[in-house]
Amino acid sequence: MTNSTIIFAAKTILTMNSYQPVATHVAVRDGRILGAGSLDELAHWGDYTLNEIFADKVLVPGFVEAHCHAMNGSAWDNTYVGFFDRTDPDGTLWPGIKTLDGVIERLIEIERTLDDPNQTLVAWGFDPIYFDDGVRMTLEHLDQVSRERRIMVQHSNGHLLNASRKVIELAGITSSTDVEGVMKDDSGQPTGELGEMAAQFMAYKVTDDVRRFDGINTNDLWTFAKTATNVGVTTATDLHARVEDQNIQAYVEATTSADYPLRLVPAAGALTMSIQDGPSHVAQLKQHNNDKLYLGLCKIMTDGSIQGFTGRLKWPGYINGKPNGIWNLPPQTLTEMVEAYHAAGLQMHMHTNGDEASELMINAIEAALHKYPRPDHRHTLTHCQMADEAQFRRMAQLGICSNLFANHIYYWGDQHYSLTMGPDRATRMDACGTAKRLGVPYTIHSDAPVTPLDPLFTAWCAVNRQTASGRVLGSGECIEVQDALYAITLGAAFTLHLDHLVGSIESGKFADFAVLEDDPTGVPAEALKDISVWGTVVDGIPRPASQQNP
């Protein structure tokens, strides 16, 4: 053990620690924070080295993202064709493509760079929902890219894809194919757009060189960490992890490297295990934990998504009259699952999009608490997009936390306004204001790669509640910048039971900081998302973002 102390000087330090909210210096020893204050105050710790690389920067606690997925990294193995700007792990900005022609142009460019004619071209992030003319991609469009190559264009919602003529031919899909999910044009010919599992299964079957998502490897975790560093994240979940040995090995291997710049919180997917074996299995995983690895959290999937009309809604349902969504398991089984994991002393994050799903989980937790009383469980409803006030009141009474999908307001707010919820209920989506007012511990998230990992952007969404078209969706639910900063640091750490280790710049905690070019409390609220991130500090070691060395 060394006793060497480094004191970082900064323009400002926002600590998120109430007894010393603002400081100019932070002292670090052995990867942990000794304290924050002025240089004179910190000199009381004895000899130190003064590090002034952040003298003109702002330090805040390293951001904590409580709902994202480590596969975020591997998405960039493929071509991005989304509507919105996105930055890859190397710091390169990929401008959003605003027209279908633009998407085809980008695919043509990429196709030209491929030497092997047998390589499948995969693109991701496509979303025609934003195109003004409502135009859909067809086989003819992809013919312009290649008639011979296997091409798959995955939609951003994860439920649809467009396949090229070659794929459709190999999959044996014709005008006489009569299964749901194979879209056809007016003349009955397949358009290449495929929805539903069966149609997509066939497409994947004939593109066997495409990597299936079958678990995580160490490479993915390094790419993921790189993305995290670029946006100031120092603690992140992998919120639906598969807990086979090879995955656990990857987590251990990455996090035991001193250079690895991220604390990982994988949440075991409870739906991949039996109710009998799952709880003890997850409890045993904790033996692998280290300072950068926190196994033991569980994820329960209940319903689908609201924009996909698969979220479970209470009456009166979807405004366009679509039938109610789906459950991933019978409600009764989900309830039993909650009881089993709760009884085993484990913490759960429950995916609930629709209000009926939230209600089922609140009921399940309440029942489990009656049977197995347990203080400070911090079970968390994640997404929790539609919860109404009565549900938030019950959550407060029962000690349930919420992790609200603030990014949805920007990315799908306009669709929620017109297609899914209607103007009235759309204003109560991802209700940070209500959570705060009623005392429900809350954080906000990106669900990356569903939307980009970038807590300052997520904070901007919660503060401004502006949709992609510029509409303010429910100004009553807007929160203050200070609240949003709390949500992406201590608020998130609280929902992960890690608030004693990370989330604020406070004596004894890990020396994890996000290094910003501006003070988030000093810029207009509309500019929150535009603050540049220099990188992070993890374990007291500066970790520059990729964009520092383009």
Binding site: M202, T272, L329, P330
Partner: protein, 323 residues
């Protein structure tokens, strides 16, 4: 049914809400099968009560049984379980997917409609007679239960002996309103051997029946009773000359609902040297040309409930030789 097998693996979906008896049915099937080798995709091994003596090997997500069957857990996801089975499709006679209590069997069956390696063999959906009407009053699950009923080829009202006659009538009426195109069976005691429900008849029985038919041309119901299971009957029909297609089709569409499955190789007068594979599940059937087979003769196997008329009844033998 070896003679009329095609290379595609018959693919059956077993659906039904939580507690409807899917696992019990699968247990019986796997424990009793003699000749048919099933590959079964299940949600959870924990619930399967397979006789220990039957288990040959247990390797991660799969269990191999001594009788040639295999169970594959879908814990890693449906697609990876399906792929694991498809890699050794030649080792099995049938694939069965146990749908989760909330899945739509039709969407699972779509895979068999698309994949040339699979042939749709019907969606069997179990209805829990003791719970069905309550389920329709529960807004959380009503839609999932009704979707399953609508997508069924064969509906089996299970646990009927645990409810009263008027409830059973209400259930039948409701099912008929929701799906008038399927065969509805009532199960008033535990299924003895569900093999025939999945279209499997032990070849040995077929062969014995063939011999019997030669000895006793009357082919009475008693014979069925002797040689198949007491809940399901089967019969084999033959014709040595090509059959007129429209006569065949009108026979096929007027078979009584007690005939729940049929499969055969047919030769039509219009193209006497080509044979067609005919397959019936519930009230719908499929005819497709068989690339491998040729010949002028025809043969079908019918499987029905104990209410299925005897094979000397013209409704049953139709364009085939009278037994």
């Amino acid at each position: 049914m070896n003679e009329i097998q095609t290379s595609a693996l018959p693919f059956t979906v077993l659906g039904g809400f939580l507690g409807s008896g899917k696992t019990t049915l699968l247990n019986r099937l796997l424990n009793l099968t003699k000749e048919t080798r099933y590959a079964v995709l299940v949600n959870d091994f924990g619930e399967l009560n397979i006789d220990e003596r039957l288990i040959e090997a247990h390797d991660g997500e799969t269990i191999a049984l001594a009788n040639g069957c295999m169970c594959c857990s879908m814990a890693d996801g449906f697609v990876s379980a399906l792929t694991a089975v498809m890699e050794r499709a030649d080792q099995f006679d049938q694939m069965i997917v146990e749908a989760s209590g909330v899945s739509n069997p039709g969407r699972i069956m779509d895979i068999a409609k698309l994949d040339p390696g699979l042939s749709p063999n019907g969606a069997i959906v179990l209805v829990d007679a003791t719970q069905f009407l309550n389920q329709l009053n529960d807004s959380l699950i009503k839609d999932a239960v009704l979707t399953q009923v609508k997508e069924a080829d064969i509906l089996l009202i299970n646990k009927a002996h645990l409810t009263d006659q008027s409830t059973l009538e209400t259930i039948k009426e409701t099912l008929d309103t929701q799906n008038s195109d399927c065969t509805t069976l009532i199960n008033d005691r535990p299924v003895v051997d569900p093999g025939p429900l999945f279209g499997s008849i032990d070849t040995a029985i077929l062969k014995r029946r063939e011999t019997l038919a030669l000895v006793d041309k009357k082919g009475t119901a008693e014979h069925d009773h002797d040689h198949t299971h007491d809940q399901f009957h089967s019969c084999v029909l033959r014709q040595i000359k090509p059959i007129d297609r429209s006569t065949f089709e009108s026979w096929a569409t007027t078979l009584p609902p007690s005939v729940i499955r049929g499969k055969g190789l047919i030769s039509f007068t219009e193209s006497p040297h080509q044979q067609w594979i005919w397959q019936k599940v519930g009230r719908t059937y499929d005819l497709e040309s068989s690339s491998g087979a040729s010949g002028q003769s025809s043969m079908v196997v019918l499987i029905g409930t104990k209410e299925m008329p005897v094979e000397s009844d013209p409704v049953i033998y139709g364009p085939f030789l009278k037994q």
